[in-house]
Amino acid sequence: MLADYKREIILFSGLFALILLVMSFMGMAYSTRMLVEASCYAIIALGLTIQWGYAGLFNAGIMGFLAIGAFLTMLFSYPVNEDFWGSGLASDLGSVFLKLLIGIVLIVGSMQLGRFGVRQNVRRLITLILIAITYIVFMNSLDPVAGAIESEVGFIGGFGLPVWIGWVFGGLVAGGIAYFIGHICLGLRSDYLAVATLGIAEIIKAFLKNADWLTRGTLTVSPLPWPTPGPAELGFVMARALYLSLTALMIVVIFFLLTRAYNAPWGRMLRAIRDNETSALAMGKNVNKRRLEVFVFGAILMGIGGAVLGSFNGIFDPSGYIPLNHTFLIWVMVILGGAGNNLGTLFGAVFVYILWTMSEPVALWVFDVIRNLGDAWFGWEAPGDLDSRALQARVFVIGLTITLVLRYAPKGVIPERVAHHHE
Amino acid sequence: MAILETKNIHAGYGGMNILNGINMSIDSGEIGVIVGANGAGKSTSLKAIFGLLHISEGSIELNGEDITNADPNTLVKHGMAFVPQEKNVFVSLTVEENLEMGAFLRKDSYKGTLEAVYHYFPDLKDKRYQPAGELSGGQRQMVAMGRALMIEPKVLLLDEPTAGLSPLYMNEIFDRVVAVNREGVGILMVEQNAKQALNIAHKGFVLAAGRNRFTDTGENLLNDPEVAKSFLGG
């Protein structure tokens, strides 16, 4: 039994040694921070491994789900802005959203007109007109209120609720967005989902960055509260260690649930769909419904992971979300670790995150050496922005890793175990 | 001598063998017909000869040269052409463009061959500028055969050229096959209409479970009571 897991044991021992190495060089405060972040990424990566590894769905917009998770945790947990609630602006904003709600009800209602025998073309026209009217009315009434909020009270602030409520809502809203996208794209070519998720991520970012009345935009919101006692009470190391035990507990629970789902009929059906869509269809499986479920579940995990990471960082900065760090780094974790294998994904997440954080000082050091040598040997005058260029070299390395792993180790270092079904 | 000869070939998909030793041979200027029940390996034999699946055992010779597991491109260069059963025309290209695509590998002028093809299939000449997707099933089959003839092949492989055609077109296709063969093109074809096909065949190969069951001249097979009973529907 143990011999079956030789590879896993060796890899995880290596990972443990690597962590110890980082601890001894960089100190406990640094290492615990890195580990908490790595564990957040692990939650996100588990979300991706069920989307990609279980069901073969390409999500190119993980960043959007992380950002929305972090936003909701900010909204729910940040202290209440008394100025805003005390002013008349709150009721102004409420009436704006009431108008939106009415519009949405009308739009949804118009979609049901088919029941009264209205022809499809007419129905579509009515829906489009209602959407246009709702949009224009909403935008026009929101604009002055948003402007007033920004100039008078800064932004609307949070709800001052416990952090975990924000995490739950972060997951739920991320799942809702995934439902919308998946509903449209999952019946079409697999590439279209990638294009659409890429787009929604950019839109979520644009929205969070520019809706200053809601998020303070580029001004950022901090400090976000933690669900556990913070560094002020316990000191950095202990506070982070406590946070780490919370995320570790979450990972254990998620891991347990995922493993059960993977081996349940639901998981088997997903794999059947992934491996051979045609025969799964022929067997009468509802392919798109299963895919939509898994896409939404994955997105919920991503939303939660993003929320937990957001709380830990203590700051909500929408411009800080970039596709490289918040989408493709996670892709590297999953495909390197082993898509579809939860243990592999966990390994990939922690291992890649450590390499990623450590690569920053290493890249700077390497380029510093190059600068000095170039200067000493050739009298080369390095460009002034060499340091920022050095960090870009890491972008290249990410890209190269993706292509190399796809070519030489397409199943990752801990491949999915092909289970022998006993049905 | 034999222009095309397969010696005891074994082949299949993904580790599962479908062909378990096929022996066939046709001389230049002969028509060979492959018949047999569904799943006997008829179409698979043609695909194996044309390099579309891996041959694990046995060998194939074209004009005395070993071509086992050669890729389609090489085979076309060596004078072998293949007409698949389905999706055998470029639907968005015109008839003439379809024919031109058959001559892709030719460096010399193919105008003469084009005229020859139009001579075989006069219908196509009238529709030369029409997209092949707009043609009827029989006309498409003609386009597909015409495309294959554009390299002036020594051997032509046809996979069920009359499948799904009306009897009128069926006869016309058989006529054309004979006409093409008279010009010295060796033909190896798979056919469902076994009786009609064996009528024009010099050689017939009756397959069962991926092996030769009977191999003889077309005439002898037609007259063989055992073949008639089990494969020609009495």
């Binding site: 794209c185 079409l188 950019e202 890209g399 190269l400 796809l406 070519r407 | -």
Partner: protein, 332 residues
Amino acid sequence: MNEFIFLFNSVVISGAVIGAIYAMGAIGVTLIFSILRFAHFAHADLMTTGAFVTFFLTVMFPGVGPAVGLPTAFVMLPIAMVLTSLIAVGIDKAFYKPLREHNVKPIVLVMASLGVTFMLQGLVRLFAGTGSRNLFVDDRKEIFRIDLPWELASRKIVITEPQLLLFLFTIIAVVSLHYFLTRSRLGKAMRAMSDNADLARVSGINVNVVVIVTWVIAGSLCAAAGTLLSLDVALKPDLSFNLLLPIFAAAIVGGVGHVYGAVLGGFVVGFAESLAVFNWAVVLRPLARAMEWDLPRSMALVPTEYKITVPFFILIAILVLRPTGILKGKVI
């Protein structure tokens, strides 16, 4: 009258400019889609790479342009197109071809192209830095201001030299691509392969040559689009995701696998963007003055900072209403 000249300048001209850029990108995306069957996510960064190739050539030979009377970067464009084609073919050989030969699912190729996108991004920024650059090194951008003969029209139509060159280039590129695809043997082979790849192989069409030609066309158009866009505005290394979405939207709107569809889709998305962010208050102001209405300062359908939502919602709309695209592409 002036209001309409403003409308012309900021909707017609700028919509056509960005539409032409999208069209050139979408042609490449649609060709790769139909020949190689995957969504090429590295396309926008291939454009950026092409623009930087031009930039390096321009820096090396800054005097060429003034001697001919055209911007140096434009004179250097043919060389940059050749070099970018070579880069594209090389990328295919190194990263996509091995995967194709392993018969991977198309989505794995999409992922590999994302890997390539980051490699290109990293390399461009490593060698050229992260700041924005000007493609005019030893020359200046010429701006034409055209006076209209009417009395009321005091505002001028503004068009720049790079914009004129862009329109000229787009027309030439589309027309020659049309002739290539319908008249030449290789062009027809490309259409044949996009129509039915298996049959193309069986017919003896040299698949490798067709693939190389596809990358040459896509690479050249990328270099041209990247260069002409940077001539018009500025050369920035972070164009990628801002261009990628509209280009894919254009290709899908036009009908995937459809070259003319891609051109049409490019202009549809381009004009939709410039119409959506146009401030209609400017045009309505004289009317409002006459009617004594009170107009808000800004009446754009979509605030400029949300421009990226326009191609996205066009994409969503087409996927819901007509997933095959306007001209009915064949790949769904």
